[in-house]
């Protein structure tokens, strides 16, 4: 599913990943932890095909990401929740989610249905749907952003601190999302600083430090 061998990635000239070896099987859920600046965000972006590996090999969903065309190909098959929410401030919550559904290539009918489902699952109720995003609170934005991911039903989920900013109900929703994704055959990589919370999701915890895998509690 995902396989990295001695993968090095640069941000500017800084080696944010210094040689990562990691293997993730289909249907697995893995938890990524590590100190601030360890390279978690960079690793997720690398797996999403947004960065080119400097050296080493990165294979995701069968694509060898050293080639630009393969990086492009892999992107549509993964979903990445990043530190920023990727929403259009002047569009409403519903319009944003609808746009991202259509942008992912869903046709009009299918997208309507999925959008409604996603909004409900994220607990974005009717009062919020027609608010422009710039009027949302931090957690409401985050939920909208998650809804825009959920409609895509990707094969590989890369979630960078998905619980951040969410209230307890929101956190349970995220946990449930992850559970459902795995049940539907997806693979999930979750980075998080909240281990107590996240550890219930999977026994496998990968600790990054200094841009490399420091410990891997493979089962």
């Amino acid at each position: 599913m995902v396989e990295l061998n001695a993968a090095v990635a640069l941000l500017g000239r800084f080696p944010a990943l210094t040689g990562v070896d990691l293997r993730i099987e289909a249907g697995e859920t893995i938890l990524l932890q590590g100190p601030n600046g360890a390279g978690k965000t960079t690793l997720l972006r690398l797996c999403a095909g947004l960065l080119a590996p400097e050296s080493g090999t990165v294979t995701v969903l069968g694509h060898d990401l050293t080639a630009g065309s393969e990086r492009r190909a892999v992107r549509r098959r993964v979903a990445l929740l990043g530190h920023s929410t990727g929403l259009y401030e002047d569009l409403t919550v519903a319009e944003n989610v609808r746009f991202w559904a259509r942008a992912a290539g869903l046709d009009a009918e299918l997208s309507v249905e999925r959008v409604v489902g996603a909004l409900q699952r994220l607990g974005l109720d009717d009062g919020l749907l027609d608010l422009p995003v710039h009027r949302l609170s931090a957690g409401q934005r985050r939920r909208t952003s998650l809804a825009a991911l959920v409609v895509r039903r990707p094969e590989l989920w890369l979630l960078d601190e998905p619980h951040a900013g969410l209230d307890q109900a929101g956190r349970s929703v995220v946990d449930k999302l992850i559970g459902d994704a795995v049940a539907a055959g997806g693979t999930v990589v979750v980075s998080s600083h909240e281990l107590e919370r996240v550890r219930t999701l999977s026994p496998r915890v990968v600790t990054l430090a200094g841009g490399a895998v420091h410990r891997d509690t493979s089962p």
Partner: protein, 224 residues
């Protein structure tokens, strides 16, 4: 192919909707356009005749400045909250994205050109002698500017200094458009005995190259 156009339409519709919501074009870029005409009037401190003689050039300089604003805005909409990353992950072809963004800019430019034409007629006393040439020039130049601008907007995007970088990247490239469109207007407004239609040819070539080149190169930029 149909996915291509559906995606392009989706993106263009999204940008135009954001435009309609925020009213930036109507409330701000349009007044800015008129202001630029007025500033030229002040600065040249000239009589009506001089201004009329220079009207084509000033018109197109004004269009370029407004286009800069429209393109800045088009880029910053994607940048503000990292939406561009989402688009890169969406599987949409970069060419479709390009066509969509450029179309939205094109529509806005056409609106601005109509307004500026009224502006030079009233303020500079220009007279439209060849309406067809004016329309053709306006459309082709708008295509050229929208496509080049969208491409260069992608080049400058993601850099902290976009606001200032974009002008210096874009304006030199658009110099041929400025010259060609000015000459064509010189003819169309009866200012000078040049063959406007020949210059229109230049614009057409530029527009075609910008569209095709932009759609191709955009992939290399956005899709990294």
């Amino acid at each position: 192919m149909s996915r291509f156009f559906a995606d392009a339409r989706l993106v263009a519709a999204k940008d135009l909707r954001i435009e309609a919501r925020s009213r930036v074009l109507l409330n701000q870029v349009a007044p800015f356009a008129l202001l630029v005409l007025v500033l030229f009037g002040f600065a040249l401190d000239a009589d009506q005749r001089t201004l009329r003689a220079f009207a084509p050039g000033l018109f197109w300089v004004a269009v370029l400045f407004c286009a800069l604003l429209a393109i800045q805005r088009s880029v910053s909409v994607e940048q503000a909250d990292g939406a561009l990353t989402g688009l890169r992950l969406s599987g949409m072809s970069p060419a479709a994205l390009f066509v969509g963004k450029a179309s939205a800019v094109f529509v806005q430019l056409v609106v601005l050109e109509v307004l500026l034409t009224a502006g030079i007629i009233v303020l500079y006393g220009s007279e439209v002698e060849q309406p067809l040439l004016v329309v053709a020039t306006g459309l082709l130049a708008a295509v050229a500017v929208a496509c080049t601008g969208t491409l260069y907007g992608a080049l400058a995007s993601g850099l902290g200094v976009r606001e200032t970088l974009l002008p210096i990247l874009l304006l030199p490239v658009l110099a041929p458009v400025l010259i060609g469109a000015t000459r064509a207007f010189d003819d169309a407004l009866g200012n000078a005995a040049v063959d406007g239609w020949a210059w229109l040819g230049l614009l057409a070539v530029f527009a075609v190259v910008a569209t095709a080149g932009g759609a191709l190169a955009h992939g290399a930029l956005v899709d990294e």
